[in-house]
């Protein structure tokens, strides 16, 4: 059966140019970048070049890029590292109700260990954070604000520049998890007043297990692990040479293609949104209608369960995902959907479709053909079992 992959927000296939670059590194460059001899210098050069590519794509300086094992580590390093380094200035952390677990659970962990006081700011029904609400949440002891650039489930893009201005005026550092946006949207730290940015390679056709944290010059960051002192002591451990090369190439390619590809994907996204809303009765679009990621079409279908939707679509040849995880028999709606104010029974039937570089109009047609009868069947089933 031909498969249609509509889960690019979960991960993307590795770009052939990226795979080739990584393959060359694995075959030809075995040195440790910390070694001073020729083999080490060769490896160091690759890491440096990757750092330059990532920095260029973000409008940053190479020294402001710290390589990590991915988005989760970048988020952890940002929150834990800044709160620890700025402890003398304050202990208050502000974040939002729709952050990825890598941010939200890290913030809660710091809170439960007594290391920070935490304020979680609510969002509106479309998942937008009001910059005024962030300002209102801040106090004299606030040292860090963390607001994601775009949400991974519903695709809503946050007014990060406005929030950045507020933070800068008050001398508060701003972190943004831009895992879903870097590569897809223009993101230039020389234009946006943000101090820390989390990046994850496998979201833009790079390898899994490698990411980066942008740390604006002058932002103090404590390390989370101790060791040989790589990455200027901010993230110690021998560099994942092939991985960071893959990250650099992937980000360069993504930026090269961004203008045309994001517009193309946005058109497919809009076809999905309009098609699903027209063909599936009582379908609810989640997230902002226009301020959303170019590849994200997410919905709730009251009377269905997210897990059943995913299974049924899988058996019909489609890869998609749901914000809901089935725990203990009942489908537990995602914290993001509940934060929008959706009722539990609506949020339980969530479906996220995210298009990518390989997605075609024919794929969209196939999905729009397959989905309505699946939703109808599931609704019939849940009506029977109630």
């Amino acid at each position: 059966m031909k498969r249609v992959y509509l889960d690019h927000a979960a991960t993307t296939p590795v770009d052939p140019e990226v795979a080739e670059a990584m393959d060359r590194v694995l075959r030809d460059t075995h040195g440790n970048p910390s070694s001073i001899y020729a083999e080490g210098r060769a490896a160091r050069e690759l890491v440096d070049r990757a750092r330059e590519e990532v920095a260029a794509a973000l409008g940053a300086q190479p020294t402001e890029i710290v390589f990590t094992s991915g988005g989760t580590e970048a988020d952890n390093l940002a929150l834990r590292g800044v709160m620890k380094a700025r402890r003398g200035l304050g202990d208050h952390l502000v974040t939002t109700a729709i952050e990825h677990h890598a941010v939200l659970d890290t913030a809660r962990d710091l809170e439960s260990n007594g290391q920070v006081r935490l304020t979680v700011v609510a969002v509106d029904r479309e998942g937008r954070v009001d910059p005024a609400a962030i300002a209102a949440a801040m106090g004299p002891k606030t040292t860090l604000v963390s607001v994601m650039h775009a949400n991974n489930e519903i695709g809503t893009i946050q007014p990060i520049a406005e929030i950045g201005e507020i933070c800068r005026d008050r001398g508060v550092k701003l972190h943004t998890d831009a895992v879903q946006t870097v590569g897809a949207l223009d993101f230039d730290v020389s234009q946006i007043p943000v101090d820390l940015v989390s990046v994850n390679a496998h979201k833009f056709y790079g390898p899994k297990g490698v990411g980066a944290l942008y740390v604006r010059r002058g932002t103090r960051l404590a390390t989370m692990q101790t060791g040989g002192g790589q990455e200027k002591g901010r993230r110690t451990g021998t560099e994942n040479v092939a991985g960071v090369v893959g990250l650099g190439v992937a980000l360069r390619v993504a930026v090269e293609r961004r203008t045309t590809e994001s517009a193309r994907q946005a058109r497919l996204r809009d076809r999905l949104i309009e098609g699903v809303l027209a063909r599936v009765p009582d379908a609810v679009l989640t997230g902002h209608r226009t301020e959303r990621l170019p590849n994200n079409a997410s919905f709730c279908f009251p009377g269905t369960q997210g897990e059943s939707l995913i299974v049924a679509l899988d058996l019909a040849g489609f890869a998609a995902s749901s914000g809901s995880a089935c725990t203990s028999g009942d489908t537990e709606p995602s914290h993001v959907l509940l934060a929008l104010g959706l009722e539990r029974h609506v949020a339980q039937g969530s479906l996220r479709l995210t298009v990518g570089r390989a997605t075609t109009d024919a794929d969209v047609d196939a999905l729009l053909e397959a989905l309505p009868p699946i939703v109808a069947r599931l609704r019939e089933a849940s009506a029977v079992s109630v």
Binding site: V311, G329, A381
Partner: protein, 351 residues
Amino acid sequence: MSGGVDSSVAAALLLERGEDVVGVWMRLVPGGVDTDAPRCCGTDEAGEDARRAAATLGIPFYALDYADVFGKHVVDRFVEAYASGETPNPCVSCNHHVKFEALMRDVFAKFGGTRLATGHYARVADARDGTRQLLRARDAAKDQSYALYMLGQRELARVEFPVGELANKNETREIAARFGLPTATKAESMDICFIAGDYRDLVRSRAPRAFDAGPVERADGTVVGHHAGIGGLTVGQRSGTGVATGERLYVLRLEPERSAAVVGTREEITRTEYELRDVRFTRDAPPAATFETSAVLRYRGTPLAAAVDVSSDGARLRLTAPALVAPGQAVVFYQGDEVVGGGVVRAGSPA
């Protein structure tokens, strides 16, 4: 798929027959909970075994969560039964409410499946009148039809038990080897699969009142000793009392409302007549208002000659010779190799 060899081989046989097979594993204990129960098919570890078997066969595989329904219909009922002086039958509860109710509903309605196959050792056949028959497995030593008596025509029309057709365990192993499935037979999941240690610890923690001490009496009211709680006793078990008189005494009856255990001799505890509740028939109706049967009183028990009188709210079992079966246990009616139906022994039958 439980992760064991039987359900894996069942999937392999269907695949070989050209069926479009989807593997489903049921989580029965909450995720992350380590029960240490080596025979439990519902732990994450068993789920990993099932996932590997499905991958070996190259079929889609889903882990589905039934911890709530299992907890309510199997574990809670298990505790309630012991606390009320009955002897529960968790396999029957699990088949009834979890596998052939909740899972079956999901397989058909949600996933668009047409049939549900399991690794049970039993057979289903078409009778001449167009109905479906539930039969013993070809391999009598592995037969599990006893624990499936609650299946009616609705279920039987849509179930398959591929391993029930196999001649013996060697054939199962041969097929497993042919498909590259792990052949190591796990401990068979029968009896109380979801408990690692002593079931009484579970009952004690969930129903402490069942462990109030109380008197041990003879049928005439004579107190012959004391017990530590009826939750730890089963009708029919040897009683430690009566040693002084040299008699072998067995638990005859448990009376939870006054925490009393009544004991008697072998002659006193066996009976020829039992009242049954929750009576079900595989062909949805009894063969007759009164019918002759071979009654099986326990899993893999010897069939006993009996007659059944069906009534509006149950049935009466009349055995040819006295036998013992505890309240809460299932009595299954066979005619030849066919399961006709069955019911659950009522508590508080006359002594």
